[in-house]
């Protein structure tokens, strides 16, 4: 089991998408830049579990991004991510997202499109810290 989560994620993404590891740069977004679809995401998460022992279910990804903030506080009635949600995303999940730039402009369902290789590696690292050692 490796604890080099960046390399583990790059290897998993490259393997699942049939890309060279040099194409899987840390700031590449999984969906938009690399073209991952839902079955690819599932494949990536299982590969990561295998190499790192860190288990993230595809169905947990949304919760993980929302960080326990209730639905009506994370999003606005118009379906955008709230300021509170943007601040959380910037602080924890996606530091590259500037809350000032995206305020009132980021649709909740589009958050996943900004999720990068590095963001996933960081998430795996956070999860590893929370999991009981086997």
């Amino acid at each position: 089991m490796t604890t080099d989560y960046r390399s583990a994620v790059q290897e998993a993404v490259a393997g699942a998408l049939g890309l060279g590891e040099d194409e899987v740069t840390p700031d590449a977004t999984l969906m938009d830049d690399l073209g991952a679809e839902s079955i690819d995401l599932l494949d990536i998460l299982f590969r990561i579990e295998r190499s790192t022992g860190v288990k993230i279910a595809a169905s947990d990804l949304g919760d993980e991004m929302q960080g326990g903030i209730p639905e009506d506080e994370f999003g606005t009635p118009e379906g955008n991510v709230s300021r509170k949600g943007l601040d959380y995303l910037h602080e924890v999940v996606m530091p590259q997202l500037d809350p000032d730039e995206w305020d009132g402009k980021l649709q909740a369902e589009e958050v996943i499109n900004h999720f990068t290789v590095q963001n996933l590696a960081d998430m795996v690292g956070r999860r590893a810290g929370q999991q009981q050692p086997a």
Partner: protein, 256 residues
């Protein structure tokens, strides 16, 4: 032995084709979980037969038409035998009747066991297979899923569903190193189909089978052994008949 070190679960394995499959897998070295719903004594006999031949087996109770029970069957197999590599979805029932006379519950019961059992066990086992990037699922379907037969509309529809599901499951699991195939037996005289093959010594059916003989449980079991093991590593999404040529023929295959 091709299945040395592998662990298999066969649903509905206390009798008929399921029993034959459990014994054939064990003969190739697999440890086998013999699932049964109500035939505990028969399931124990299958386990004893395997153990007395030097194999490893346990009996696991559970009605696979219920998802929670299917989950428990999978978990218990993994806990008692130490893993799972091969899932044989064999449990099946028949409730033959002309559609005109068929009770609505008769199609639902058949669908819940024959297709529901396949869905439930596949879903319950797939995470384990995906995590280890290894697994072979063999669904015991029927040539009736591809062709029609009087009085078997519910059974035929349930097996047609199994065939369609087999292809889709093969697509979704191929990325994870898991293969999914179906075996389609023709006429194999077991308790379940004795109404069909028992009449007149089966003459009315036999003359429609190009090979002029019924299949044996072992014929089905050996194809399952092949699909379960490494020799079939490039085979997935396949629907393979074992029927003495029955489904190859058009009409009777010659002028009457």
């Amino acid at each position: 032995m091709t299945l040395e070190g592998r662990i298999a679960l066969v649903t509905g394995a206390s009798r008929g084709i399921g029993r034959g499959i459990a014994e054939a897998l064990a003969a190739e070295g697999a440890a086998v979980a013999v699932n049964y719903r109500s035939g505990e004594a028969q399931a124990r006999e299958v386990v004893d037969a395997i153990v007395s031949n030097g194999g490893r087996a346990v009996a696991v109770q559970g009605d696979v038409s219920e998802y929670a029970q299917a989950q428990r069957v999978i978990e218990q197999t993994i806990a008692e035998l130490g893993g799972l590599h091969v899932l044989v979805n064999n449990a099946g029932i028949a409730r033959d009747a002309l559609i005109y006379n068929m009770e609505p519950q008769d199609w639902l019961d058949v669908m819940r066991v024959n297709f529901g059992g396949v869905f439930n066990c596949t879903k319950a086992a797939m995470g384990h297979f995906m995590g280890q990037r290894e697994g072979s699922i063999v669904n015991i379907s029927s040539v009736m899923g591809q062709r029609g037969w009087m009085g078997e509309s519910n059974y035929s529809a349930s097996k047609g569903a199994v065939n369609a599901f087999t292809r889709c499951a093969a697509m979704e699991l191929v990325r994870f190193g898991v293969r999914v195939n179906a075996v389609l037996p023709g006429f194999v005289p077991t308790e379940m189909v004795e109404g069909l093959t028992g009449k007149d010594g089966g003459k009315g059916v036999l003359k429609q089978i190009p090979m002029r003989s019924f299949g044996e449980v072992e014929d089905v079991a050996q194809l399952v052994v092949f699909l379960s093991g490494p020799q079939a590593k490039y085979v997935t999404g396949a629907l393979l008949p074992v029927d003495g040529g029955a489904s190859a023929v058009l009409g009777t295959g010659a002028p009457l």
